[in-house]
């Protein structure tokens, strides 16, 4: 084993160990972020699902920005079909 090969092996081990320790944290943060995002979507679409939203006028403005996440979101929330009557994404 040359010196170079040794180094790269060490690097690989280091990377693997790093990943081993860090991955669970990253996963839980990613999950927490996803939960926050889901809640945000729920707030934006609240009115469409019969939950009164005092600021419907203003949340409509966010619709174009979150629309392409909409399909994934309603699937994840356990709604097979789009909960909006007039926007059928699936």
């Amino acid at each position: 084993m040359t010196k170079k090969e040794k180094e790269s092996l060490l690097k690989r081990i280091e990377k693997g160990l790093h990943e081993y320790y860090v991955a669970p944290y990253r996963r839980s943060f990613a999950r927490a972020q996803r939960d926050e995002d889901d809640l945000f979507m729920l707030l934006v679409f609240a009115e469409s699902m019969g939950v009164p939203n005092p600021a419907a006028y203003y949340t409509l403005e966010l619709l174009p920005l979150v629309y392409d996440r909409f399909h994934e979101w309603h699937k994840r929330m356990g709604m097979e079909r789009s909960p909006l009557d007039h926007i059928g994404c699936c």
Binding site: H18, E19, V22, A23, Y25, R26, R27, F29, A30, R31, A32, Q33, R34, E36, D37, L39, F40, L43, E47, P52, P54, A55, A56, Y57, Y58, L60, E61, L62, L63, P64, L65, V66, Y67, D68, R69, E72, W73, R76, L84, D85, H86, I87, G88
Partner: protein, 327 residues
């Protein structure tokens, strides 16, 4: 009394029961201030467009010159909502395949008549008008819609900023998590499932959402601070010396007090003169009974009487003549 108050404040609201003469009193006050050399903006938030009827001319949603120093405008919630929704549907059109355009439009059209839509639109324009208006004018005078409507409008900035605040907090939390994920290196497992992955378009989107929310928050807070600042803003309740307007005035005063808005003057409009015949004399005595109820409920509030006139107040000269008598 009314004129002194008007001189001292930068923003003045006139409210009260329907038909008591809010529009006339606010237009007269605005004209009187303009005659004193101030630049005044008179704004109607009543969809009935009474200002146009009073001055006998068309006044639109853009400031219209009435006389030297006085501009007027009428806020039309229908128009504001339509404009807002048009912007949203064109933004949605850009995102979606053209075969879904009609679906998008249907959704947006339904939203137009959703509860709260008009008041939210009105609030937004009021916030804009107050912010811009204070730069160009010395004084902003609002002729508001009848009581209940206005009491609601005055607490709305509070509700809306709390709500926006909540959304911003949620966004910040989500962004913080996303930041952790980025710092912990390349993601493998959740990449396809999270909606906030680290690529540029995502970050761009996040920052757009945040900008929209922050813009809203700024607007609501600005309006709320101005309205709650009693050195700057005051509310005048206009009433007639009759039973129902008196009761409604007491109620409106209570609602405004709860919303932390200072009411500094009552204007009793269309008072019957005691020296113009038996009939009006009798009417005047009846009015004193109602006003005693009013004084009983609101003892410290100063009142200004405006007497009943034989002729209607229509057109600028009539308003100006009445303004002269105000001081």
């Amino acid at each position: 009394m009314l004129l002194e108050l008007a001189k001292a404040k930068k923003i003045l609201f006139f409210g009260g029961k329907g038909g008591v003469g809010k529009t006339t009193v606010s237009a007269v006050t605005a004209t009187a201030c303009a005659e004193l050399g101030e630049k005044v903006l008179l704004i109607s938030t009543d969809p009935a467009h009474n200002l146009g009827h009073l001055f006998g001319r068309k006044i639109g949603s853009k400031p219209t010159r009435i006389t030297a120093g006085l501009d007027a405008l009428e806020l039309d919630p229908h128009e504001i909502v339509n404009l807002h929704l048009k912007e949203i549907s064109s933004a949605l059109h850009r995102l979606m395949p053209s075969n879904l355009y009609s679906e998008v439009d249907k959704h947006v059209t339904l939203a137009k008549d959703a509860p709260g839509m008009h008041e939210a639109a009105m609030l937004e324009r009021m916030a804009d008008v107050v912010e811009d208006g204070l730069k160009d004018y010395d004084k902003i005078i609002f002729d508001t819609a009848p009581s209940g409507h206005t009491a609601r409008l005055m607490v709305l900035p509070e509700i809306m900023s709390a709500w926006t605040e909540g959304l911003i907090k949620r966004r910040e939390k989500a962004d913080r998590f996303a930041e952790f994920v980025r710092e912990l290196g390349e993601d493998t497992s959740m990449q396809d499932k999270t909606i906030g992955n680290a690529d540029d378009s995502e970050q761009e989107r996040e920052s757009q959402i945040r900008q929209i929310l922050l813009r809203r928050r700024h607007k609501f807070n600005h309006l709320r601070e101005r309205i709650a600042d009693s050195d700057m803003t005051s509310f005048v309740i206009v009433l007639a010396a009759e039973r129902l307007p008196v009761l409604e005035t007491i109620e409106l005063h209570e609602q405004l007090k709860q919303a932390n808005i200072s009411v500094d003057c009552l204007v009793v409009n269309k008072r019957a003169p005691a020296d113009s015949g038996e009939f009006l004399k009798e009417r005047q005595e009846q009015e004193e009974i109602h006003l005693a109820t009013l004084t009983g409920a609101l003892p410290v509030l100063p009142k200004q009487d405006i007497f009943l006139r034989a002729h209607d107040i229509v057109g600028l000269p009539a308003v100006e003549a009445m303004a002269k008598q105000l001081g």
